[in-house]
Symmetry: C2
Subunit: 400 residues, 2 copies
Amino acid sequence: MHNYTAGPPAEEILPRVARLQSALQKADFDAALIVQNTDLYYFSGTSQQGWLYIPAEGEALLMVYKEFERARAESPLEQIVSLVSPKKIPGTLEDYGHRLPGKLGMELDVLPANLYLQFSSIFGCSVDDISLSIRLIRAVKSPFEIERMRFAAALADKVAARVPEILEPGKAEITAAGEIEAYARSLGHQGIVRMRLFGGELFYGHLLSGAAAAVPSYLASPTGGEGASELTGQGAGFKKMERGEMVLVDYVFAHNGYICDHARIFALGDLPAELYKAHDAMLVIQEKTASWAVPGAVCGDIYQRMLDAAAECGYGDTFMGVGERKIRFTGHGVGLELDEFPFIAQNQKLELAENMIIALEPKVILPGLGVAGIENTQLVTAAGLQSLSRFADAIHTVSD
Amino acid sequence: MHNYTAGPPAEEILPRVARLQSALQKADFDAALIVQNTDLYYFSGTSQQGWLYIPAEGEALLMVYKEFERARAESPLEQIVSLVSPKKIPGTLEDYGHRLPGKLGMELDVLPANLYLQFSSIFGCSVDDISLSIRLIRAVKSPFEIERMRFAAALADKVAARVPEILEPGKAEITAAGEIEAYARSLGHQGIVRMRLFGGELFYGHLLSGAAAAVPSYLASPTGGEGASELTGQGAGFKKMERGEMVLVDYVFAHNGYICDHARIFALGDLPAELYKAHDAMLVIQEKTASWAVPGAVCGDIYQRMLDAAAECGYGDTFMGVGERKIRFTGHGVGLELDEFPFIAQNQKLELAENMIIALEPKVILPGLGVAGIENTQLVTAAGLQSLSRFADAIHTVSD
């Protein structure tokens, strides 16, 4: 009846499944049952709701709750079946020749407790966490994924280039935000930005101006902002931008699943010298980090070197937040979700690998003045970080 | 340092806490530990991250991870403390004179399994689900909440009134969506729309045109749409709207926490007669339901009567979706989240109560033609449903 677009091809999906199977074998799992929406898409090529059974050996079986025909059209997997209740999973697995698992892996980092208890009872076996393996696999991007992320990055640049036409003194942050967002939508922004962290949420990103840009929030991010709502108090608010203020446009472009995280500082006229100085210091840290962040480098070490470099320039107390409000990371993996592995964060033992993609965001919070710094989505190559963005990193002055 | 806005006053928050305490006592819980962002805001008046301990008797204690000063400014609770790790919760409770619970209630419908296991180990006691009680309390709105929802409804009407200026043949759905969204933002739309269901997500809502409006998706909703992305395949896509097509604008206005869900059909010129006929039938069902949905009415019965009424007009197979793709509800509670109690759904035993607010959405999916029907956010009163919206329900023709 409908013409559905096919998702990623079998050559993209099947190696992902095989990588998870290796991880299952190594950790002595009999199988994984994937239920989270992003992981489902990653391993099946469709976002339709259901349960994806991946045995440690053998063929994956996608059981679809909604919408079956669409899943069949989108996914390159061979075995796809319509199923209305999780209670029928064990019987269906047996129909397809699977022995029921003795040890089952599920995404216990995101699976709600009630569902965890339900699946434990349905399977009557040990259900353990497999999310770490999934996140490690997803951290390393394929050429297919890198291509999509380059495309998202080009669109993020295009949005940044439009920003100076939209910002002006006297306009409310939220009005400017809406205009930027409308332009992003016309370029194909998918709207929804997914985070994996419990309670994590983001709407496009943060457009913040002047002193209000330094307002901290509940979000695991160096910037917060008053926001437009008590419930979701982050990002653009009703404050009017003023001449002489900085405006942070830290926006995510999410295109066909993949995310580019991108922040630039715009100046409504001349800014206090301290902001330019701080911004330059952040660009130097970004450049240094690009050479430190090579395959094999330990994420916690990179984090510490960035902190040390910030302290050397006098930003020890304001780098990535003020005092106790400091966020304990300077970068995070991006891909289908905004908060992927690796985290350039305190005590992280994970080593960088080629083709990981991280959003590196050295930022300084200057109470009373706002925010300075940068964020670019960067590919880990043998020679260090390579930014996917082209839009200049300097503070951009918006002319009257 | 910053001027934070105060959240809802103590007269609003304390009775909510007291209602949960009654529920705890009835179900023999010693206490609840609230961790989900929306529930935290509901019971504390702040959205800052943390853990809210509500003993069955005594004073609530809000332990804040991020951001403490902001939480203190926003919340009217008396006892607020800064805390960096959940492991320190039991010690902190003892410092504040609490005996540790033998039976603790948590939101097991949303709490990730890993956190559930962590809290079970931290408390060393039985951790059971308290989400049903929380959702029942939240389902009945206070005058403060009804006032906020009326305000959101007025803004939703304002957006609908602007839609005819934005829709035009030849424009892509996603471009029109962005323009509508920008206008909503300028009116103060908070952007983020929260859903409680695992995997549930929505970006503003669905702008869908012509036959593409009948495309089903993974979302628990009568409409889906191709969407702009394989990952988040719902809502507006790249299709261009054409003369002679219907356009569904089913948009949520989320203002200062509270949601109005609002759908209208717009016509780009004359539509096939079948769409007008189906739309009129849905308006009749809406009107009938308004008189059935009185306090004490059982939600499953209302659902069945709506189904019967649809079948009588010949829409038995297309009401709320086609065949197996039919969604098994015709309305849902709204408030801080889009999918609140009560659900006007199959087999729902819950009885309506005065001051519940539901989004009632009788809709017909007509493959090849699109969607007809309506959605209004309605208050349950002694006399039945009272719509919070004023914008006319009929199909609106967009003139050239």
